[in-house]
Symmetry: C2
């Protein structure tokens, strides 16, 4: 059985389609015919064709989520927040995996424009000027979450990555460490690479730690690259007492290497990670990590997107608050009681 249309309902109720439209959209009075119409609609299992409505209202109540990778838990949590807000606002979310390259982002941007999505949410991406211009040319309003854009007028929902890295480093310094290694992410990653190294270096400088005492090795945020980076770090400076990693996977890798070399955490080596993914809670001891309120960020990004569509004024784009999670991987250099109290700005209410 094919789906019933507004015409079928109109015939069944003995009225015109205009009347059906009005009744079903509560734009007609509560007359007697209203009931007849509703009953007919019910009986026929009528569901309005959203496509037809979109075509005429010029609003698809849909947003596109552009993200480099959809499968990691970072992306999942943001998506969860986006989806939740979308649900509440009556929007649908089309997910687009843009991958590493730029070509797929362009492809999807065109696709989304062609599908008349009302806005795009760009995640974990540092948009180039060219990409920004493409989006503009496609008349596709967008917001950025956990990323950046060259246009200061575009809403961005993100933490201050440099400050967060500095806070994590400072926590290590406060615990008494003076020789701290960093396992950084991609050396030219403008979102999760560069700012975190910068924050690390800045905090070390402030603490008066000499460049030689704060070696940096780069990984790709993944576990395996963390193993390699950690080994190199300890080769360069076997006397490190603490490590700050730009991702939890790399932090866990650091713990694995420490374990292999008979260094205990936190007695012999303190470790701080980044992102506070679920994994961080399951290590022994639990990993201290920089937490971003990912779900809340997704939620907020979707809200911002909706406001953008409605042409509502947007609140100034203040960075989102980050926080250090409680854990057991940070302690004083020479051993002693574990240290893991939260440091830095409080996490926002979810």
């Amino acid at each position: 059985m094919s789906r019933a249309t507004i015409k079928d309902v109109a015939e069944a109720a003995g009225v015109s389609i205009a009347t059906v439209s009005r009744v079903l959209n509560d734009r007609g009075g509560a007359s007697a015919t209203a009931r007849t119409v509703r009953e007919a609609a019910e009986r026929l299992g009528y569901a309005p064709n959203a496509l037809a409505r979109m075509l005429i209202t010029q609003r698809s109540m849909t947003v596109g989520l552009l993200q480099p990778m959809v499968s990691d838990s970072f992306a999942g949590q943001v998506l969860d927040g986006v989806e939740d807000a979308a649900y509440e606002l009556g929007y649908s979310v089309i997910v687009c995996s843009t991958g590493a390259g730029s070509s797929r982002l362009e492809h999807y941007a065109r696709l989304l424009a062609s599908r008349q999505v009302d806005a795009a949410v760009v995640m974990s991406t540092a948009l180039t000027q060219t990409q920004h211009e493409l989006l503009r040319a496609l008349a596709l309003p967008y917001v950025v979450v956990a990323g950046s854009t060259p246009d200061p007028g575009v809403p961005v929902v993100a933490i201050d990555g440099q400050q967060a890295a500095a806070d994590a480093t400072t926590a290590l310094v406060t615990a008494g460490h003076r020789r701290i290694g960093m396992i950084a992410g991609g050396a030219d990653d403008p979102v999760a690479g560069i700012p975190r190294v910068r924050g690390f270096v800045a905090a070390c400088d402030t603490a008066g730690i000499a460049p030689d005492d704060r070696p940096v090795e780069h990984g790709d945020f993944g576990y395996d690259s963390g193993l390699v980076a950690m080994r190199r770090l300890l080769e360069r400076r076997p006397d490190l007492t603490a490590v700050f990693a730009a991702s939890d996977e790399m932090a866990v890798a650091a713990m694995t290497v420490a374990d292999e070399q008979g260094r205990r955490v936190p007695e012999d080596l303190s470790v701080i990670g980044f992102d506070a993914i679920p994994l961080a809670r399951m290590t022994r001891p639990p990993l201290v990590s920089v937490a971003q309120p990912l779900r809340a960020m997704g939620y907020r990004a979707m809200q911002a997107a909706e406001q953008l569509v409605r042409g509502e004024p947007l609140p100034a784009a203040a960075p989102v608050a980050h926080a250090l999670t409680v854990g057991g991987t940070v302690g004083p250099p020479s051993g002693g009681p574990p240290f893991g109290d939260p440091v830095g700005p409080p996490s926002p209410r979810s």
Copy 2:
């Protein structure tokens, strides 16, 4: 600047809109006008309005993905596969988080029908008869991935959960274990709960292990519940030499509890998990786990959905192959060399 329509292009090229439509859809010859049209389209930055096209072709090239939770890495990997296949097939994916309750699934089913999606992909859900009938009534074709449905005519992409659990258990038995505990999932979860317990029990029966020697405790698949379940298990039978958990998080929890109690893995206790999420590779030693080819399953589910839409005959729904991952958490009961060779059917080529 508002988006250009086909009419604008037609005027700019000095032809009718029908000609524009034909040229742009390669349904008109390569005449001289074709170039004129293409140039005009290019110049105006014309992008066809997919909505209008959908309305007339009665095909939205969109599928809805219904999943209980979008944020865990299990869901993420399946989504990744779905998205990938969708991209290749020219489809878009709308994600819908149905949560635990049934009401949101119903809501989304109606929404998707109203949005004229061509099909739905239902994930990690054991559809009830009522839910199945709703989908039918909405004229919404669907496939199931990592779940089940009452209608044998509906394509299902899933492993044989009972067999997989039995294989994991048998691996433990083969290693020499005779007192094996299980940390199960939800006691009435028809997808990841019941079948896995059943497979565990069946394998133990086959091995001649007495019911008392194969205690079962239930968790909710999460880490914390795993801690509780493991402690209860060891209280009941402190002499257990192996544990099979219905999720990796619970398996890692078992390892944590073992560690707390001074039991070494795998010397004193062998552990097998389920799902082989990224986390499993990062434990010390790496966790042996039952792997489902999640990405491939998502990919295949999307393919099946597309075939369903096209009315193409579907291949018989054979279960997907599972496999045990290589790891270091399984060994003989009394200590000895680690054991972690793959067991069970080979994993499918991705």
